[in-house]
Assembly symmetry: C2
C-alpha cells in the first residue's frame, strides 16, 4: 500500500464529517425547528472537533511529510497540495486557542445580531475587538510557521484567494476607484430619470416561486442534482457534485430581488454541479476559491442576467406572468430598470456599478485594523467617512453602517475582497465568451447549454486542481486582469445611460 492509499481513509473521514456539517447548516437555515438550535449546535460542535482530529493528527503529519517525496499522479498531487493547505491553515494554531476562538465566534453572531437590531455598536465593539485580536494572533502564528515577514493581512487574504495579496489588491482597487467614482457621479445624476416604480408593486409570491423555478431551470440548474428552497438570506451549498442546493428569499413588493438572487445562486450552483466526478468528495472537489466562485455567480447575475440579450427571449413570458404590473413596461424600460444605479448604504442591496465601492471600504478598514494598532471605538467614524468620500452618502446610524454585515462576527476577515475579485473575474470571463462563443447570440436564442458546456469544459470541471490564474490563462491565455471589468463598466453604463 503506497502512502497515498494510507491517506485515503483520513480524506474520506474529513469529507464525510464536512459533508455532515454542511447538511446541518443547510437544514438549520431552511427547515429545522426554531428551538432545535442549542442541542443541534452541541452535535455540530462534536462533529467539528472530529473533523479537526481527522485533519490534524500524527498520521496525517507523517503521511504529508512522506508524500512530498513520493511519485504521485497529477490528481494525487493536487489532493495532497490542497490537504497541505488546509492542514497548514489550522495546524500552527494551538488547539485550545482554536476552540476558544470558535466558541467566541459561535456567540458573536448573536451579539452582532442584537447590536444591529438595537443600533448599539458599543455592545458589539468588545467582541469585535476580541475577534480581531484572535485573527491577528492566528495570522502571526501562520506567518511564523511560513517564515513570512510581510503585512499580516496578506495571510488572511491568502486563505480565501491563493496568490492574492495587498499589493495586487491595492493596485486593483485604486484603478477601480479612479474609474468608478467619476462614473458613479455621472450615472447617479441621470438615474432619477429611470422610473422603477413598477418593481415595488405587489407580486404574488407563488407566481414569483414559479418564475424563480423557471429561471433556475432555464439557466441549466439540474433539479435531479439540486434542490431549491427558501431561507432568510439566499445562499448556495453543496454536499457533492450531485447534490447542490440553493435558496431564495421572496418579497411581495420586490420583483427583482428573488429573480436575481436565483440567477446569482444558480451561477454558484452550476459551478459545483459541473465539477468532475473524479474530484467530487475529495479536497479538490469544489470551487477553486471564494473569488472564482463569486466570478461565476456574478457572471450569471450581472453580466449575463442584466443584459438585453438574456431578457430578449424571456421578458415576454415574465410580462405574461405579471400582466397587470408589467403590461406598460417595455423591454427597454425593464433593462434600464434592472440596471438603475444609485449610491446606497447597504452592500447587499447595492447595484452592479456601486457594489465594489462597498467592498473597497471594507477592504481598507480590514487592512488597517489587521496591520495596525487601532482604536475600536473609532471604526464607525472611519466607516462613515469612507462612505461619504466614495459614495457621497453618510450612514445615519451604525445599523446601516458598520453593523450591517455578519462577516466580521464570524471572523471572516479577508473574505470581502473576494466579492470584488469575483466581479472582475466575471467581467473577464464575459469578455472572453463574447468572442469565444458569441454569448449574446446564445442568449438571444435561449441556447444556455452552449454557455454551460463551455464553462464546464474550460473552467468548472477542474475544481481546485487549478488556481484562478491557471483557469483564466488556460481558457484565454491571460491571468487575472481587472481592466476587463473597468472597460465593461465604462462601456455598459455609458451606452445604457447615453439615452437619458
Amino acid at each position: 500500500m503506497n502512502s497515498f492509499n494510507k491517506l485515503k481513509p483520513y480524506l474520506d473521514k474529513q469529507n464525510a464529517l464536512f459533508t455532515a456539517l454542511t447538511l446541518f447548516e443547510w437544514d438549520n437555515a431552511t427547515k429545522a425547528p426554531e428551538k432545535a438550535i442549542d442541542n443541534t449546535s452541541a452535535v455540530m460542535g462534536i462533529l467539528s472537533d472530529e473533523y479537526y482530529n481527522a485533519l490534524i493528527n500524527d498520521d496525517v503529519t507523517f503521511l504529508l511529510n512522506t508524500l512530498c517525496k513520493e511519485q504521485l499522479s497529477a490528481l494525487e498531487s493536487s489532493i495532497v497540495k490542497e490537504l497541505k493547505n488546509a492542514y497548514d491553515d489550522v495546524r500552527p494554531i494551538p488547539q485550545a486557542e482554536y476552540s476558544a476562538y470558535k466558541a467566541l465566534t459561535a456567540k458573536a453572531s448573536s451579539v452582532w445580531q442584537k447590536a444591529k437590531k438595537n443600533n448599539d455598536y458599543a455592545l458589539f465593539a468588545p467582541v469585535l475587538k476580541e475577534i480581531i485580536d484572535y485573527k491577528k494572533k492566528f495570522a502571526a502564528y501562520k506567518a511564523k510557521d511560513r517564515g513570512y515577514n510581510g503585512p499580516l493581512y496578506d495571510i488572511l487574504l491568502d486563505e480565501y484567494e491563493k496568490g492574492f495579496n495587498t499589493q495586487i489588491l491595492d493596485t486593483f482597487f485604486n484603478r477601480l476607484k479612479d474609474t468608478i467614482i467619476p462614473l458613479v457621479r455621472m450615472v447617479s445624476k441621470k438615474s432619477d430619470k429611470i422610473d422603477k416604480h413598477y418593481n415595488e408593486l405587489h407580486y404574488d409570491i407563488d407566481k414569483q416561486r414559479e418564475v424563480s423555478h423557471r429561471l433556475a431551470k432555464y439557466i441549466g440548474f439540474d433539479f435531479t442534482k439540486g434542490v431549491m428552497l427558501e431561507s432568510a438570506h439566499p445562499f448556495t451549498t453543496n454536499l457533492h457534485n450531485r447534490d447542490v442546493r440553493i435558496t431564495t428569499a421572496f418579497f411581495e413588493n420586490n420583483l427583482e430581488s428573488a429573480m436575481f438572487s436565483t440567477i446569482h445562486e444558480g451561477g454558484h450552483a452550476l459551478y459545483e454541479m459541473h465539477i468532475d466526478d473524479a474530484l467530487t468528495m475529495t479536497p479538490v472537489g469544489t470551487g477553486t476559491s471564494m473569488g472564482f466562485h463569486e466570478g461565476q455567480s456574478r457572471l450569471f447575475e450581472n453580466n449575463i442576467g442584466r443584459s438585453r440579450a438574456f431578457w430578449t427571449p424571456l421578458y415576454p413570458q415574465l410580462q405574461e406572468t405579471f400582466k397587470e404590473q408589467l403590461n406598460d413596461i417595455t423591454l427597454d424600460h425593464f433593462i434600464l430598470g434592472i440596471n438603475k444605479s444609485q449610491p446606497s448604504l447597504i452592500r447587499t442591496e447595492a447595484d452592479e456599478l456601486t457594489y465594489c465601492l462597498h467592498i473597497i471600504i471594507r477592504y481598507e478598514i480590514e487592512k488597517y485594523v489587521i496591520n495596525n494598532d487601532f482604536d475600536i471605538d473609532l471604526l464607525p467614524k472611519l466607516w462613515n467617512d469612507k462612505y461619504e468620500e466614495y459614495l457621497g452618502i453618510r450612514p445615519e446610524n451604525d445599523s446601516e453602517g458598520i453593523l450591517q454585515d455578519i462577516h466580521w462576527s464570524c471572523g471572516d476577515f479577508g473574505y470581502f475582497p473576494s466579492y470584488a475579485i469575483g466581479t472582475a473575474i466575471a467581467a473577464q470571463i464575459y469578455a472572453h465568451l463574447k468572442t469565444a462563443i458569441n454569448i449574446d447570440d446564445c442568449l438571444e436564442k435561449g441556447n444556455f447549454a452552449a454557455i454551460n458546456d463551455y464553462l464546464k469544459e474550460h473552467l468548472h470541471r477542474f475544481g481546485k486542481t487549478k488556481t484562478t490564474n491557471e483557469l483564466l490563462s488556460g481558457m484565454m491565455g491571460e491571468n487575472f486582469n481587472p481592466q476587463y471589468y473597468i472597460d465593461y463598466l465604462n462601456e455598459k453604463y455609458t451606452a445604457l445611460y447615453s439615452s437619458l
Copy 2:
C-alpha cells in the same frame, strides 16, 4: 475524573454521528435530489463506520468493565446499561461480517423494490436467503456470547423489545387469533352495509395539507420543536427532543389516509418531544422500545383517533372544509366509516381489527425460518396459505403477498411483532386513561393538553430509563397484559356493528 466522565466523549461522539446519520436519512426521504444517493451513501457509510468505531473499541470495553464495579447515579447506571445493550448487540459480530452484511442490505432494498414491481419473487429469493443466513449466524454469535441455548428467534425479538420472547408472543398471538378470527368473520359480513364511497371522492391536496397541519397542532405537535414535510411513506424521526420530524403522504382520492397517518406519526412525535431534557442526546434519550413507540402512535391513531369523542369537536370543521364531499355524511356515518373493517391483503392498508392478523402471519413465518432449516422457494405458498387461513383471502401474486413489505430486505427480522405489541400496549394505556383522566371527556372538550400532560408525566419523559413493563406497572400497577386489547376489540366492534 471518574470512569463515567471518561466515557462521556465516546457517548457524545456516538450521539453526534448517529444524529448526523438520522439527518441524512430524513433528508434522503424528503428533500435530497434523486441523483444524490450514490455519493451520499458513500458519505453515510463512512459516518456509520465511525459510529461503529466510537461504540466498539478498547477504551469503551475497558470502561464498561470498570463502570459495572463503580458507584453510579441512577441516570449514569441507565446510560451504562443501555450502552452495554448496544455494545453487546454489535460486539459479538466480527467487523468484516458486519460490513459485508451492511453492504448486502444496502443493495437488497433495491432488489426487493424491483422484485415487488415486477412480481418476481425469484429475483429476491436468493438475497432474502442470504440475509436470513446472516441473521441466523449473527443471532448464534450473540447466543454464544450470552450463554443462551433457546430458540434463535428470541435473540432477534429481544433487539426490538427487551424482555419479550416467543413464549410470551405465542401466548399473546394465540389468544388474539382465538378472539379476532371469529370477530373478523362477524364484522366482515356486516361491513358491506357501511357506505364509504365519500372517502374516495376528490379532496384538494392543499386543503388536506391544512387539515393535517391543524390535526397535528390540535393533538399537541409543537411546531417550534418539530417539522412536518411530505414523503412517499409517512415516518417519524428525531434528532433530539427539540427536533422531531414527521412526514405525511397525500392522496387526492383518499381523505382518511393522510389524516390518520398524521395522527399516527404525531403520536410517535409527541413521545419524543416529551422526553426529559436530562436524557435527550444520551443513549437513554429516546423511546424505550419499538413496541412502546408503536403503543403511542396507535393510541393516538386508533384508540383516540377513531373514537367518537375525538371527532365530536373536530368533525364540524372537517365537514366545513370539505363541504361538497361531506355535507351528507353525519358524524355517526363518519365514525362507522373510519372504523369499517374488512379483510385485505396489504398490511399497511389494514384496518384496526384485522391489522394484527397480518403481523401474526409474519411472526409465524419469521419464527419458522429463523429457528429451522427451510426452503426459500416455499415461502410464498406458506404466506398465501396463512392469509387464506386467517383472513379468508388469498393473494393473487407475490407483489401483494410476500413481497409487500420492505422490512426483510433491510434485515429487520423480529421487528413486525412490535407492531402488535404496540397495539396491545395502546389498548392497555387507553383503558387506564379512561379511569385516570376520563379521556372521553377530555376529547369531547378538546382538552388534549390533559392527555399529553398525563402521558408525559407517567410514561414519555422517562425515555429508555424504564422498560415497557416498568412504565406500565409504574403508571397502573400492572405489566403488559394483552387482555385489555382483546376486550377493547370485542367491546368496540360489538357496539359499533350492533346497529348494522
